[in-house]
Symmetry: C2
Subunit: 346 residues, 2 copies
């Protein structure tokens, strides 16, 4: 394992994108999102994705210099045509607008069409919380989660992300795929061998499998409930923005990299002060979080946690030790730009 210095890593990502003629605002958000997400321990959505993003920019799937179009459709709603820029950038623009609307009218919602992979949803929902707002972020993705009762996948892992500010620490943040586990966990089993837990994935006939090499679709979280939530996410993202639903989106990998994916997102911001005093809210939520953490654990060796606690622990550790990256993944970064050799922790 190689350890990378977060600050130098962020600068190297930024410079690489600028050299590819990517607009500065997009480069800032991609660098910030990838490094923060890796610091938070979410390796599937952090810096490991960067070499793929670079290929997508070079091939034209992601536009380096987009002409985004933002339209206000009512006092509290907007639509953003992202013109195939980085989802990290499009999502940040959308959430910033949702927050501005919420501050004026109590609540703001922005739908985003013609976007690309936006990385971790938490990156956007957390932005709302520093403006005394509750943030929601949703995105669709290519089909990977088995439709309940069907043989095949229909919706993507279509995440739901919800964040709300706390008094003494970074905001509470639930960022969850609507599948029970991520596809990465299946891939880990393929690499390392062994049988998967009994309820993770299905084969081509829609039968539950424990052999990772036979898995082709994921189990929704809570069976038909996760399937329903994935559909809710696609209705908010794709149908409100007249975009393709999960089943009609090209896979991120194993598809012609020059082709556009037309991913869609949806963002809400809810202004806390229009319901209660934001100070009171933060104190109440902190007390709620603390009460739960203080509960008696069912396994005395594992403390009770709330959503986002594992990410906070990873963040504290990685800020000290650096961001761990596998050697093969690091080699990919070096291939993208030799300058990544200078971001290793010394």
């Amino acid at each position: 394992m190689i350890y990378l210095d977060p600050l130098r890593l962020k600068k190297a990502i930024f410079s690489t994108l600028i050299d590819l003629d990517v607009v500065e605002e997009a480069a800032i958000h991609v660098a910030e999102s990838l490094v923060t997400t890796s610091l938070r321990g979410v390796d599937s959505h952090g810096v490991n994705l960067f070499p793929h993003y670079v290929r997508a920019v070079k091939a034209g799937r992601i536009k380096a210099r987009p002409s985004m179009a933002l339209i206000q459709t009512s006092h509290s709603t907007m639509k953003l045509d992202a013109d195939h820029t980085f989802g990290h950038y499009a999502g940040s623009v959308a959430m910033a607008e949702a927050v501005k609307l919420a501050q004026q009218t109590g609540i703001g919602a922005v739908s985003v069409s013609n976007s690309t992979h936006f990385g971790a949803a938490a990156y956007f929902a957390l932005q709302a919380t520093s403006h005394d707002c509750i943030g929601f972020a949703f995105t669709n993705a290519d089909a990977l989660v088995k439709a309940h009762g069907a043989k095949e996948a229909f919706f993507g892992t279509n995440p739901i992300c919800f964040a709300a500010p706390l008094e003494h620490e970074e905001a509470f943040c639930l960022d969850m795929a609507t599948s029970l586990v991520s596809w990465n966990k299946i891939l880990n089993f393929r690499r390392e061998g062994g049988k998967m837990p009994h309820d993770w994935a299905f084969d081509v006939e829609g039968r539950i499998v424990d052999d990772p090499t036979l898995a082709v679709s994921l189990n929704p979280a809570g069976s038909y409930k996760g399937f329903g939530l994935g559909m809710m996410v696609d209705i908010l993202c794709a149908l409100l923005s007249e975009s393709p639903v999960s089943k009609d989106i090209l896979p991120m990998y194993n598809s012609p990299i020059e082709e556009r994916r037309r991913i869609s997102h949806f963002f809400f911001a809810l202004s806390i002060r229009h319901f209660t005093n934001p100070d009171t809210f933060r104190v109440s939520l902190q007390s709620l979080v603390d009460r739960i953490r203080d509960m008696q654990p069912s396994d005395p060796t594992i403390p009770v946690m709330v959503a986002g606690d594992p990410e906070k622990r990873a963040y504290a550790i990685r800020l000290e030790s650096g961001i761990p990256i596998e050697e093969t993944k690091f080699d990919e970064l070096i291939t993208v730009n030799g300058a990544f050799a200078n971001v290793i922790c010394v």
Copy 2:
């Protein structure tokens, strides 16, 4: 099993409430919600609850003549103090206001404090769909779902409900508790004997159990994901309205029936026309629903369904055959009001 005529049942519920001096608007919504919910096959939230509600009105937990207070807090948000009226009434007032706000400003949100059990969340979310809106309804409830990693329950079954209009049939509606199964399913196993599936419930030590008599808390849907969603619901309902969280709410049964429960709710309405043409939206959603239903089933004897399909099937059947009710439950109705003898199907 006894079968009840929906129309006469609705009238009998309404008259019983009027005789108890319940305000007419509340009586209308309780009757409509209970009968519709029973028609939709959701017996846990339908007419079976009526005798309990009557006891709660007589004891003062539910106020017959409330003084509700509605405050507009911004262009798109309102707060409703429900003054302990029926949740069915408070929720309908709140959703009607959310829809009006959404029609003016694109989106509306209303938080509700000092309420009581509101029955099925679908009753409210579906109301939004007849006004070209997407509806969301949330409520908290007393602690019943085990906190992930803890021994005990913290959040209630805290449902998430989402509804959106379809072209050729009643709206799409996902109405799901954030627990994997409902407490009623545990009670059914207690009555009928046998072992429960391995992942439904926990004992007092927070250990998973298959013996229904040992179960004291429910498994969240999708493990820590359902736990996180339950917390999201309590943040929206309780924290925004300065109300007690699930853990601090009296249980519905086995608590002094004269005591107030201070349940809180949260409602959103999203105006579709501020994002896309509502006709286009309904056609697109219909096509999405039809595509999923047309998928190849993993079990050829069970067709693929979307959320709400089982309720639609039950509705069609029960509209013909009447609402089935167990004899003991029917006897409770008769004890409440002898006039229920006249609602049996002939």
